[in-house]
Symmetry: C2
Subunit: 187 residues, 2 copies
């Protein structure tokens, strides 16, 4: 389990409401660990019951139901314990590879539109990441420990997208060759 720990990390960076957390999970942390608001509320309830976090009504709540969560000592300790524990490296789980394999055996599926769509999405995401990079991490050497680590996390995302783009282009090329090989009529 690891969503709880992602939430703890996020709360340590900045005490927040469940709603705010859910939105932050669509950015920063969410690039590597997505979660819906329902999952987040469920985890917050559990962690409060476990004594890892506590909630209070913030000053700017007004008449809303807004709550703000803070990490307690027990939560911080749990996060440190978990972080030092070893865990298997991420496993790929790429639906598109299954589709490709299905196409390889069926030979009757046209995956090119989907590939083109993914290509555009990867390029968008890469552009986003690069914008963040030039804005937040200008000249490495002067950056704090915290910022240097954040930068490396972002770089991982950038590498991944660049990778995906390169591979997708090659794949499109292969499919184009297969669809219209030299000197043949339509397949």
């Amino acid at each position: 389990m690891s969503l709880a720990h992602a939430v703890l990390t996020s709360l340590l960076e900045k005490p927040s409401s469940g709603y705010d957390l859910a939105r932050r999970f669509d950015k920063s942390i969410g690039y590597f660990w997505h979660a819906t608001h329902q999952q987040i509320y469920r985890e917050l309830a559990r962690m409060e019951a476990a004594g890892w976090i506590e909630s209070s009504i913030p000053a700017d709540a007004g008449k809303t139901r807004k709550k703000e969560y803070r990490v307690l000592a027990a939560g911080r300790k749990e996060l440190a314990r978990w972080a030092e524990q070893s865990s298997p490296p991420m496993d790929l789980r790429d639906e598109f590879m299954v589709k490709l394999r299905a196409d390889a055996v069926l030979s009757e599926v046209n995956l090119r539109p989907e590939l083109a769509r993914h290509l555009a999405l990867h390029r968008d995401k890469l552009a986003q990441y690069q914008t963040i990079e030039t804005r937040d991490f200008p000249a490495d050497r002067t950056l704090s420990r915290h910022a240097q680590i954040q930068h490396m996390i972002l770089k991982k995302g950038i590498l991944y997208e660049q990778n995906s783009i390169a591979w997708t282009l090659e794949m499109l090329d292969v499919l184009a060759q297969l669809a219209a090989p030299k000197g043949s009529s339509t397949p």
Copy 2:
């Protein structure tokens, strides 16, 4: 849902028992879609109930409980339908990035042993992939459509591992710098 479709693909490539499928999911397809034998048996039961596959006792069963599954026309149709459907690109879900972020905010975790461990695992996997590549895909141009697609799937894995290795090395370097900056005593 996509495990069912991964299983269908695997069965089209070669009709098999649940046990054989489970083992194949630790190789080839499993590089991009892992599943335990319990999941596979559950899916096989569902798909048989849905009329996508059928089972029979194979000639070499002897007194064992062995069953062999084959894909029916309905299953093949379902796989083609699913494969043409668009789906979001794979999302990263990397526990280690959460740990890094936790370290960035806690500053009291030593992630270097874990990074070194992952580095070794990535190198192993890359070596495995490259062995398969030189064995199965020698001189692209003469390969069948099926083999060319399989090769591209393998290449995706190779790129991913190379990427991970490069990033991990850089990360180790950053952590080493942070632990022992120029002109300082032990931290």
